[in-house]
Amino acid sequence: MDAIDVLENVLVARGPSGIRTPLHATAASSLAGLSEFASVRRSWWLQHREDLVRVLPAAQATLERLCSPEEGLVHPFANDHGEIHDVPRVDAGWEPGDPFMRFQERFKTALVRASAPSTFAFMVLGAFNEMASNAAEHSKAPVTSVASYEVIDGRWSFSVTDVGCGLLRSLQLNPSYTALADEASAVRLAIQDGVSSTGKPSRGFGFTKVFKVLVDRACSIRFRSAGAAATWSGTSPTASQLTITVSPPRCGFHIQVAGAL
């Protein structure tokens, strides 16, 4: 399987069931998909630059056109490992000063303008912060994570995507989980309360914050870690209800959360 297949497998899964949507059109259909696409692009650019050069020009134009200042992708935090500046990345819409905070402010404003109660908007932002922070702390990625939000047509969504080590390698840092053998098991485990790479009893409650936001709400969730994906769609998801599937392998972790307003 080459890089193109990987990209299509990832992105077709996001479109209508059974329809092989063109790569750039699928990426353009939602910013969260765009964020995931960006991570694939960045991840594979690092490892298989030659393969990607063949497919990127068309999608690149779509990506850059969609990343307007108001709906931009941002890097949540500087990564411990610094940034690699010669790797192209989607950064249109970043603002000087404190871009991540301004990004959040826009997200909150968009939610409230779309009639979401402010308490709910704050909860969504809290969950988003947890996921962005997880990426910064655990991804061990050579480049910063990307994030997106979208509030449109009575729905909201956010995503955070990194190109780091994925959940399996992260959890294996915890001596209790060194025997974990596959990414699907790691995804299943990682989203449970109190599970973390550190093993400390006070850690591992970030996903809890996400599930709390979605209580009694129509929503969908997608986690993607290296070679596994977890999805759920309905009302009031719980960690045990997610459907976990094996996916084409690639770097990093992606979470997309979407719900009705």
């Binding site: 704050f122 932002l125 912060n129 962005a132 922070s133 400390k200 850690r203």
Partner: protein, 181 residues
């Protein structure tokens, strides 16, 4: 109860969404500095959570709990904890077998405990509160079924949790409730 020994956390960090460990780690030095600057001579400091819209357990663990666990001789208490934050705070307190004093509002003279504490420590704290000021020796006089060393250890544990303050009087350590008036 005096209220000037107070730090409003949301004002210090200039936002109300307090979530994520990375953000907490970045904010902790600011909160510690503000708390030390505003603390009363005896180390008491109130952390006012007015304006906090979201407080996650990871943020509390990284940015606020270290004031109890890492800063010697500081006796923090929480004020106006948002209802939505209580579960997250208690996750961290339970993980540390700890409790903290919490005031519902300004001028509240009866703080309550948030968190989880060993039952023997709870009993010991109750005796400190009832008497107002005591030593391990005083507790032996009240209950001889427990030895002096055990009472001393319990009082020291309460002090480590910053639930009681202590001062030296010769060779004796005198304990008082950190916040109960």
């Amino acid at each position: 109860m005096m209220t000037q020994w107070k730090v409003t956390v949301a004002q210090v960090v200039r936002r109300g969404i307090l979530a994520g460990r990375a953000a907490g780690q970045a904010d902790y030095p600011k909160i510690e500095k503000a708390a030390k600057a505003a603390a009363e001579d005896d180390g008491r400091i109130m952390l006012d959570l007015t304006g906090v819209e979201v407080l996650s357990s990871s943020y509390f663990d990284a940015a606020i709990w270290p004031l109890w666990s890492l800063v010697p001789e500081l006796y923090p208490a929480l004020v106006k904890v948002p209802q939505t934050a209580i579960d997250d705070i208690e996750i961290i307190l339970r993980a540390n077998s700890a409790a903290v004093w919490s005031f519902k509002k300004d001028g509240d003279r009866s703080p309550h405990l948030l968190g989880a504490m060993d039952s023997t420590l709870k009993t010991t704290l109750g005796r400190v509160i009832d008497v107002g000021e005591l030593t391990a020796g005083d507790l032996v006089d009240v209950d001889r079924s427990i030895g002096m060393t055990a009472w001393s250890n319990r009082l020291a544990a309460l002090h480590q949790l910053r639930l009681v303050r202590r001062r030296k009087d010769g060779r004796r350590l005198i304990y008082v409730p950190a916040w109960k008036e």
